[in-house]
Amino acid sequence: MAPNPRPETYELSPEQNVGVRSIGMHAIAWGSVCVVVAVTCLVFAWLGHRGKLHGAEWRVYLPVVLVNAALGVNFVVAGRDFQAAVHRSGCDITHVMTGLSHLSRAVLVQIVVSIASIAVITIAALLVSVP
């Protein structure tokens, strides 16, 4: 049986590099979308706080800013780790693992947000339905 290659010396094949580059690009793109949403909501919150946005409570935007900033940063950092695995020689597996850790953190944020959203919607529905 062939020995297990060392993680520092194992290089991904060209086909594997294509897959890793693809996930890296998608993670950076999605992270950028989240950052843009966070910045837009921050601008709305600031305008609302200054009284320049009628009919909107500015505090409503703050959780959206925080969640999207956390998602955006983690996805962009993960994407950069995947890109590093493609562009740098050596430590390919280490870079992929670091990227997976950041993606895992971003997915955890998405899970928490999904559960919190379900809880908020359920509570709101109950409050509306109770006379």
Partner: protein, 128 residues
């Protein structure tokens, strides 16, 4: 002597397994949300509810189902990396491919949503 495909260490397996479990959980939540929206739309059709409300639920169901199923697939592939012996890197690449699909769907749906919101805002602005 042939060069073996890299076998993940126990620490790396732990990272992959944790991520796999989280991806499956997120996929499960998203799929459940999509099914719920779909059922609400079907119920709306049966009760002859307002067509625009039915359309909203149908539009909400599609991205949730597609993202959910992609994350479920990615999670399954990631857990397979840990549970099977050999071909770790190949299986990991399959999982990353599924994740890329999930992210692509999320990006596309967000862009479509932003486009619809912009069109609605432009329509309201034109009417007002």
């Amino acid at each position: 002597m042939t060069t073996a495909e890299y076998e993940l260490t126990s620490g790396q397996n732990e990272v992959v397994e944790r991520f796999g479990r989280r991806a499956r959980m997120l996929g499960g939540i998203s799929t459940a949300g999509g099914v719920l929206c779909l059922l609400t739309a079907v119920l709306g059709i049966r009760l002859e509810a307002d067509a625009s409300r039915i359309l909203v639920f149908l539009l909400a169901a599609l991205p949730q189902l597609s993202v959910g199923l992609s994350f479920l697939g990615a999670g399954r592939s990631l857990v397979a990396v840990v549970e099977t012996q050999g071909h770790d890197v190949t299986l990991l690449m399959d999982a990353l491919g599924n994740l890329a699909v999930a992210l692509r769907v999320q990006i596309a749906m967000t862009l479509v949503f932003l486009l619809l919101v912009s069109l609605a805002a432009a329509g309201l602005f034109a009417l007002g």
